[in-house]
Symmetry: C2
Amino acid sequence: MTPPTPVQVEDGDLALFTDLYQLSMTQAYWKEAMHERATFSLFFRKLPPTRRFMLACGQQHAAELATRLRFTDAQLASLAGTGRFEPAFLDWLREWRFEGDIWTLAEGTPVFANEPLLEVEAPIAQAQLLESLILNLVQLETVLASKAVRLVMAARGRPVVDFGMRRMHGVDAAVRGVRAYRVAGLAGTSNVLGGLRHDLPLSGTMAHSYILAHDDEREAFRAFARHYPGTTLLVDTHDTLEGVRKVIELLNETPGVDVKAIRLDSGNLDELARGARALLDEAGHGEVRIVASSGLDEWQIDTLIDAGAPIDVFGVGTEMGASTDAPVIDLSYKLVEYAGTPRVKHSPGKINLPCRKQLYRRLGDDGRYAGDVIAMRDEPDIPGVPLLRPLVIGGRVAPREMALAEGARERVRDALEALPVPLRQLAPGEADYPVTLSPGLEALRRRL
Amino acid sequence: MTPPTPVQVEDGDLALFTDLYQLSMTQAYWKEAMHERATFSLFFRKLPPTRRFMLACGQQHAAELATRLRFTDAQLASLAGTGRFEPAFLDWLREWRFEGDIWTLAEGTPVFANEPLLEVEAPIAQAQLLESLILNLVQLETVLASKAVRLVMAARGRPVVDFGMRRMHGVDAAVRGVRAYRVAGLAGTSNVLGGLRHDLPLSGTMAHSYILAHDDEREAFRAFARHYPGTTLLVDTHDTLEGVRKVIELLNETPGVDVKAIRLDSGNLDELARGARALLDEAGHGEVRIVASSGLDEWQIDTLIDAGAPIDVFGVGTEMGASTDAPVIDLSYKLVEYAGTPRVKHSPGKINLPCRKQLYRRLGDDGRYAGDVIAMRDEPDIPGVPLLRPLVIGGRVAPREMALAEGARERVRDALEALPVPLRQLAPGEADYPVTLSPGLEALRRRL
């Protein structure tokens, strides 16, 4: 029997994780001896209609990975098998390394339409080959972090936990998703591999199957609480408030038993949380907290908190993991400069900004973001803080810059404070955040 | 410097790709010496509102993988580090193997609400541990195959090609997505790794960056056509019909040049396709085909074909890759039997079907699907073809059954013929396909 096809993609496979045309164009550049430096800029043209900002996430991850891409002999043999590539080109690919520069926003930076998240500057055959990989990697983490931060905002300080791995699009989405969730400020995840790899606390209770495998719910609670002191018990398998009463019995009758929380996973969460809270408080168990899950999104959390539902922790799965209101952003990776000349595609009704750029953010007197300016990279006298920084120089990661990714969670927390108030609302609205072009960029754009 | 964290998840990492509670419950079963056999059933409760059927996909893939799951020493050390697991349990996990049975539908089977896609029967500590992995793997391929088949239906025989890797949720989604697309009947993919691994022809043209990197569009066309005889040229970088005229000039002026197609990627595709077709035909180049892309979905393809747009090939990305109308299905993996006793959760307003099952599909006199019956596994005298088959027996994959996955593409093609006509419409509608419970299952359900 042949060995089974691997199901997952390893880091070493990623050189072939590209659209065919990237390889075709790269071979064409090679044949035409087009080795001049090119700059590609990563941006999105508009915010999803349900959003007021996005959190840029994944761009440092992607840039670091770009420096590690290599073509193996096995991969080159696969490419040879397609009949599309010349042996001399495949030999050249064997030596291919990314030796250019990558400037990025710090992970967790709030970002708006047309702003550069990342710019790659390298010989064109190096910069072109990164396109598909960068788009895929950055879109995933940006989509997920941008959704998760809405849950965090809606919960107003109460912990939000990721229960979504089963509803996410594949393994990579679920595992790298935890990285994005960490940046966005989630308190924990049920995803063991994701949590261990990306340093987010693990969280989990029990499933209905555990209750059902026992002949009696009471017995199941007793056994689980004995195994896991300080655990959370799932009370809705048969009847939620009956389940709560059984937890109270267990607490009252068994000395030393320690139940930290109960979990509601169905029904009217506001009503059931109040009922459960009342039963627990009457029984003198004010210390037992209430975890709620069951199809929650940011709007439901907002409504539950407005209504005063006594829920202490929110578990969120499907809506966050699939980001159903905005599952994609139209990220573009566009050639903006080649051989020292600005380049731009003419698209009716679309803004395409030529040349290497820098993004400046101004703070108002109140310490809040007052507006952004998109400028030419080296344009002088632009007010504000320059946000694009050189993460990769000459194919090498600058360790100090990479370390900045570590602070992404704190950066997002601070950014949420610094966002103008209208931008922190869940409801969509007119883009009220000023993003302008610098005089130099505006003049260049008009000239082209 | 510490080595970089891997970005991707390898097959060998998948034992930890699970919700924490699966491991907590497994340890609890182990401590309670609950080693009886359990059956878990995989199904969804309702079709997405925009759909009339789903294509079950990924369940054979997932079952095969289950037989290969192992816990490595490094993984066990990580689990030990969480402080949640006893050393003796971790020793037991080191020897953990899936030794049970898995019955599945064949890949590519049309499936309806409440029907079992897969059933796992094993000692409960084996069957429970597969839940999160199976849900994640099967959901992805089922969501993507079910969306892709709509594109194939809309295109009515014209080829549909996957251009979506950059908009999909991560690397695993994009690569395993190609497997689902192959099953659904797509003609090709731009995704090199996905296409090579899952045997779908590679497809690709050029990007706007290639045109822009040249000083002149004409020059770029000439160079690319010389490198790639029979290629497709992207004509919309500056002005689409001007681009077509340049392709015609190239064809007329350069003996031996061979351009198979042009690609339109923006604007009014119907109008531009007619304009391009007219120009090409007038110039005697009726052999040059027209590929269209640019935010297409099944509805737009349907409209373009209805309107008579002379488009020969459709390239589809975002809408298919993110399945924006139905990005998730609410797959459940529920305990239905333990220690020989049927189990069922009481959920107001939900149907939960106890016990091991079989799914039967009846064909009408016209050769079309006439209705399904969900029955107890060994219930006699149920009319129709039994669709669940034993893929894994005693922890071993039955090679003959696994080989059936190879025929999935042909099976889907046949299934589309056999679907009742209303189910083949793109528009949502009342579920008009009869799915009933067998007398035995109905009686058991009432009794519980």
